[in-house]
């Protein structure tokens, strides 16, 4: 049984412009200890999906219009407030894109870190402090004792993200949701943070949902990947399979938009995907990618393609899946 199963999830927003279907019938699962990437452009619903898992979206305007999120035999969308609080930070943790704004500016690192132990483990201040120092050491923060007395603004971006990871992994959760964890960091720091996450996956056995728009990060980190477009899964596969052979024209477009380091001099210019992401309150009737798709045919405009399985576990939602 997978660790986490998202099944037909629909997360909608009531907006003045109408109903925005940010996540619209998305299914995916996460196995224990695996790194599962979710990739897509801004506004494709990947962050909304990740926030839906821990019910962190403000409701209203957000609401769950359908589906289930199964974790440890429970539907996370149905459990009580106190139960979801018990799961947050304890069984499932989350780290965010901006490590500066994600830490509270007026409390010390020590306060924010020990708080997790006090709330979930009910330990006294001294024991929480000792465990906090251990955790900071584990994520590679130098001089952890001194760091506990400092405030977020006294740390660099990379250190802050390490602190966020320490906070998230404090209670040894089974699943870590990392929403663009390196986007706001310098390139060298990005690599360090990604290495750290991979090491911690090995040593602690934490499964990771890695939200990113960076296919390079996906190739380097993930076991499996789902490509999202306009609130839906466009393609889903093991990482090797996806980079081997893309089935969905959107995925192909994403790959061509990434500069390649290895040879391939012929491709001197990057190709962009023409057009823009459709408005989530006013989606096309057929395939959501059809207006931007180089392979689109008349039928694509009529009916939305379902997510279908091709070779092995490789899935794609496209009427012309695999056509060059």
């Amino acid at each position: 049984m997978p660790l986490l199963e998202v099944d037909g999830l629909r997360t909608y927003f009531r907006t003045p412009a109408g109903l925005a279907k940010a996540v619209d019938d998305v299914s995916l699962d996460v196995e224990e200890g695996e790194i599962r990437a979710i990739v897509g452009e801004s506004g494709c619903g990947k962050s909304v999906l990740s926030l839906s898992i821990l019910r962190l979206l403000p409701q209203p305007p957000a609401f769950h219009a359908g589906g289930e999120i199964r974790f440890g035999g429970r539907d996370l969308l149905k459990v009580s407030q106190s139960e979801i609080r018990h799961i947050r930070g304890n069984e499932i943790s989350m780290i965010f894109q901006e490590p500066m704004s994600a830490l509270n500016p007026v409390f010390t690192i020590g306060h924010q870190l020990t708080e997790v132990y006090r709330v979930h483990r009910g330990v006294d201040a001294r024991s929480a402090r000792r465990q906090a120092v251990e955790m900071l050491t584990l994520v590679g923060v130098p001089a952890p004792e001194a760091r506990l007395r400092e405030y977020p603004f006294q740390l660099s971006g990379g250190m802050r993200q390490r602190v966020m990871i320490a906070m998230a992994l404090a209670c040894r959760p089974k699943l870590l949701i990392a929403d663009e964890p390196t986007t706001a960091l310098d390139v060298t720091i990005q690599a360090q943070i990604l290495d750290l996450m991979r090491d911690l996956r090995e040593s602690l056995g934490t499964a990771i949902i890695l939200i990113t728009h960076d296919l390079g990060v996906v190739a380097e980190m993930a076991d499996r990947v789902s490509v999202m477009y306009a609130g839906r899964v466009a393609e889903s596969a093991e990482v090797e399979a996806l980079f081997d052979r893309t089935l969905h024209p959107y995925t192909r477009g994403l790959m061509h938009a990434v500069p390649s380091m290895a040879g391939d001099r012929a491709q001197s210019r990057l190709t962009e995907i023409g057009g823009v992401v459709p408005n989530l309150t006013d989606l096309p009737e057929g395939c959501r990618f059809e207006p931007r798709c180089p392979l689109a045919v008349a039928y694509c405009r009529k009916k939305e393609p379902p997510l279908e399985t091709y070779e092995g576990a490789h899935m794609a939602a496209c009427w012309r899946a695999g056509d060059a």
Binding site: P60, H86, R88, G89, N90, F96, S101, P105, Y151, F153
Partner: protein
């Protein structure tokens, strides 16, 4: 902290000097006090003699230096109207003004902060709508009218509270409430909007993602950040409360500074006006100093930078 304090103290001296200068010259624009002190048919010689006796015939800068010397020795002269030392008059009224301002501020904050927080948390609910409507009433109601209405109800009809004067807690209730209501409304709206902003920030989401209870998320993580602007505004409003309560002091016969100053201005009682303005300004500056010190406690960035300077 000590260095911060000294730097602020230097500021304070400069500000007080500027205020003494401005208040001195402005009150001299109001007209000649001697004209009010003597009967209308006084002769030119009599007027001249009076001016000479009071030192008003000296050039303005000489008068100002004399006043400044008085400030340094603590002797600000006698009131032209009451004929007693002005500092005595001012210090006699000051406790009443402080008491009223503190009480009004306490009434306002004790109600406004919980209401504002609740409105923000329950945004769009009936509670939010109701309290913001109430706040609008509170802001638009003239406080003298509210004072008179309260007096009619609680003193005249019900006979629960004394109509005027100072002394017991019962005397304080109505003026403090009448004065506090508009502040309460303003602070409720301020608290609500600041809390709404803070609650939408990333670190509040982090606090929730850690599994903290809503009480901790709102009461600790959000509220401590929201307090910074609230303290700023409270400090400024407190200064205004000290001197700007003339109307309420008049309605409730409250022996505060506000009334004293206004009367002194009408009487062209120069020394009294100058002394009152100086004392009010000094308190205003001190309150601001206190606000800055509270900042240091609330916002580590200010505190830590300052400690860094001392090293």
């Amino acid at each position: 902290m000590a260095r911060f304090f000294l730097r602020r103290l230097r500021h304070t001296v400069f500000v007080l000097f500027a205020i003494s200068l401005i208040s001195f010259f402005f009150i001299h624009l109001s007209g000649d006090p001697v004209m009010l002190m003597l009967p209308a048919d006084a002769s030119a010689e009599q007027i001249e003699a009076m001016r000479e006796r009071l030192g008003f015939d000296d050039p303005l800068h000489v008068q100002y230096l004399r006043f400044l010397g008085g400030v340094l020795t603590g002797d600000l002269g006698n009131s032209l109207y009451y004929h007693v030392p002005v500092m005595e008059l001012v210090l006699d009224r000051l406790p009443a003004s402080l008491e009223l301002a503190l009480a009004a501020m306490a009434v306002a904050l004790l109600v406004a902060i919980p209401v504002g927080v609740l409105s923000a948390v329950k945004r769009g609910s009936l509670i939010d709508f109701g309290s913001m409507l109430g706040a609008l009433f509170g802001l638009s109601m003239p406080h003298f009218w509210l004072g008179i209405m309260m007096m009619l109800l609680f003193s005249v009809t019900l006979g629960w509270l004394p109509t005027s004067g100072r002394g017991t807690l019962a005397h304080l209730v109505m003026p403090a409430t009448a004065l506090g209501v508009s502040l309460m409304a303003m602070f409720a709206r301020l608290t609500r909007s600041v809390m709404l902003e803070v609650l939408s920030l990333d670190y509040v989401r982090t606090a929730r993602a850690k599994g903290l209870s809503e009480a901790l998320v709102i009461g600790q993580h959000a509220f401590k950040n929201a307090l910074i602007p609230i303290v700023t505004v409270a400090g400024m409003e407190f200064g205004f409360l000290l001197g700007g309560t003339v109307v309420i002091e008049t309605v409730f016969g409250w022996p505060g500074l506000g009334r004293l100053v206004v009367e002194a201005i009408f009487n062209r009682d120069y020394p009294l006006v100058q002394a009152s303005v100086l004392v009010l300004a000094m308190i205003f500056v001190l309150v601001n100093l206190a606000v800055d010190l509270i900042y240091g406690c609330l916002d580590p960035q200010i505190r830590v930078f300052d400690e860094g300077e001392m090293k």
